[in-house]
Symmetry: none
Subunit: 212 residues, 4 copies
DNA sequence: AATGAATGAGACTTCATTCAT
DNA sequence: CATGAATGAAGTCTCATTCAT
């Protein structure tokens, strides 16, 4: 595992760090709801403020711009997502087992965070270059980990045309379908079954015979 | 193959149908470039007009609203995409062969139209309900076809947890990674190799042994 | 009777005078309908063209500006109105009889032309100063005639506080209620009864005992 | 006297009710000046803002649309007008006396508010149906009162052809000449004399011998 | 630290008018 | 003489951001 690249620091008008954390939680939660509903560009800071129960002025004590708000949302989504997966493979030594665990964790996390992830996928490209790069770097480091896990976990298997890199891309991208086609999620029955099925597809794609 | 649902008709101020077609081509092309760059909401109709070489007023002789413009872009993307795949399986009887051809066609089409598709994926949810439904219906009919092809093409293979529906979803969704992570496309070498690798992954996911 | 002030001449692109007359009739008729419906400012020249069955370009061969169109409408309304009254008193010598005839003619004409008159009352002030003055001069000359008729027709009657001028104003203004409160017109029963009643009110206002 | 129908409530972005009242006074006053000058449709909200000393943005904190502004103007005109007359007849029992007072009050109010009333007469029909109806209902209730007063006040007088309703219409409409032909107002000498003369005309129309 | 009114730049859209065919 | 596509100026309205209280 590589060192995790730093998050961009967002300045606040308010000193009290605990308060900043608390208020930003409110703001991010409100922003997710609002951005999901209307899209980032059509959402207004007034919407966010109302939803968060904060006045416009107060909002701007914790966030410098509307874009900052989007960054906070994306940053938090990425952090939770990466974290959840890191914990899943922690202490697992067997390469094959590590891979299976990682795949399952990715699918699960994508399911759990599908609302935030929809925003990241659709709106992150609106961020300014620096924020976008900061986010991408963190995702890339994470994908590099997956690449390594895939590489180690598939050694000795049948030859294939796809690089470990592209396979890792498949593993991390396919489950975003939960975020991008939510009506499909709703149509597929209980979450656990959906997650199982998706894991099954991905392991097949990796040509791993999973323990029946 | 089912009957294709009708497109929504967009009214124009200009009567000459040929001219409308020509101008709308200009407009759609310009809009794709602009929307890709800034996102739909941040793009201005002035941008579109400038890029298309049309004055603001002229633009609005061929499109009633900014949203119409987005609809035209999405509509055209879907039309080209669906069409390309329909042609690929035309006249192919053997179920297995049909499936392989369909998969390859999907991957290829997603690669070719990745710029338009990026817009559809990110911005289509901003359309009004009627337009959105019109589009979705056409994609759904197409996915139904893929479901049937997948069902027929995988009969007799190993049992799997995923429904034909979810497999079809995987086939049609995974290649959108070309649109959503373009930097990955650029990193993977020549297009043909990328397409081959992606097809390989999908056939493995379907547990089809492809002809070496 | 004084000399009638000249109308403003509106230039046309087309030479054939008869054609100009015919087309302008179409245009005026269409404009009345459209202006009544939406008001002058909200009406578009396209509306007028469509209603008149003329293309935009053709329209502008007979009218130089939108304002010209309004002027034509007002001009025609005033002309018909004034004319109708002039004919009613023509050749009537007895002052009292002249007055009664004039009052009845005014009321009748206001009833008949109430649609056009609504436009004149509401929109004429939007004309440029020159057109407005040209119209007002013609109406003033007409009102002067009424003043004279009122003066002659009420001689020897009871003293009153109102000048002949103000009485003439009442005679010519009160019936515009037909144009400005059309729902009242509709509520008052058959036109003839309404006209009779209005005449009755005006003669009473003039303190003339009308021949029962 | 009947219950006065409710005004339409116009929403504001600003919470402080006192401030809303104050700013709207500014806005209405400015709007009257501007609308009178150019007509509602040709007037711009920039004009109104400049005249009111408010920025465009601020303006729209107190008014949601340009039409709202027109409604506020009309609403205020009607309110003042109706109120002024109600106060004039308050506590007057004798029917004849009530009628004379009412007539004088109508004339006076129409004179005082002639600027606003010009706008109501010319532009109110541009309001959306709901606003228009809200206004008309309030005026109709007022006219009903006048009808009752006229009916009671003329009992036992000479028979006439006009209904009490039409007489009431005359009483309330004729004085709008002050608004619609302002040059006449200016030509008729001091206001008091003009008001007296108009009252005289109306009482004659009602065939009431006024106390010399 | 919180509030919310004020600001003004800028977007979409309309439409009178022109002019090549 | 008729047509109708092109033009671009201008208007309404929104909203991120600021700042006095």
């Amino acid at each position: 595992m590589q060192a995790v690249p730093a998050r961009r620091r967002i300045a606040a008008n308010v000193k009290d760090a605990a308060l900043v954390g608390e208020r930003r939680d409110q703001i991010v939660e409100a922003a997710i709801a609002v951005f999901r509903d209307k899209g980032f560009a059509a959402a207004t800071m007034r919407d966010v403020g109302l939803r968060a129960g904060l006045s416009q002025g107060t909002l701007y004590n914790y966030v410098r711009t509307k874009e900052d708000t989007l960054y906070l949302v994306c940053d938090r989504a990425v952090a939770h997502y990466v974290d959840q997966i890191a914990r899943a493979v922690e202490g697992v030594a067997d390469p094959r087992e590590r891979l299976v665990r990682a795949v399952r964790a990715v699918v699960r996390a994508q399911y759990d965070h599908r609302h935030n992830i929809a925003i990241v996928l659709r709106e992150a490209h609106l961020l300014d270059a620096r924020s976008r790069e900061a986010l991408r770097r963190r995702v890339d480091v994470f994908i590099d980990d997956i690449v390594a896990i895939v590489g180690a976990g598939t050694t000795g298997g049948p030859r294939r045309r796809a690089s470990a890199r592209l396979l890792a891309e498949a593993v991390t991208y396919l489950p975003t379908v939960f975020a991008m086609r939510p009506w499909r999620v709703r149509a597929e029955g209980p979450p656990d079954k959906l997650v199982d099925a998706m894991v099954d597809i991905l392991l097949a794609a990796l040509r791993i015979e999973q323990p029946a």
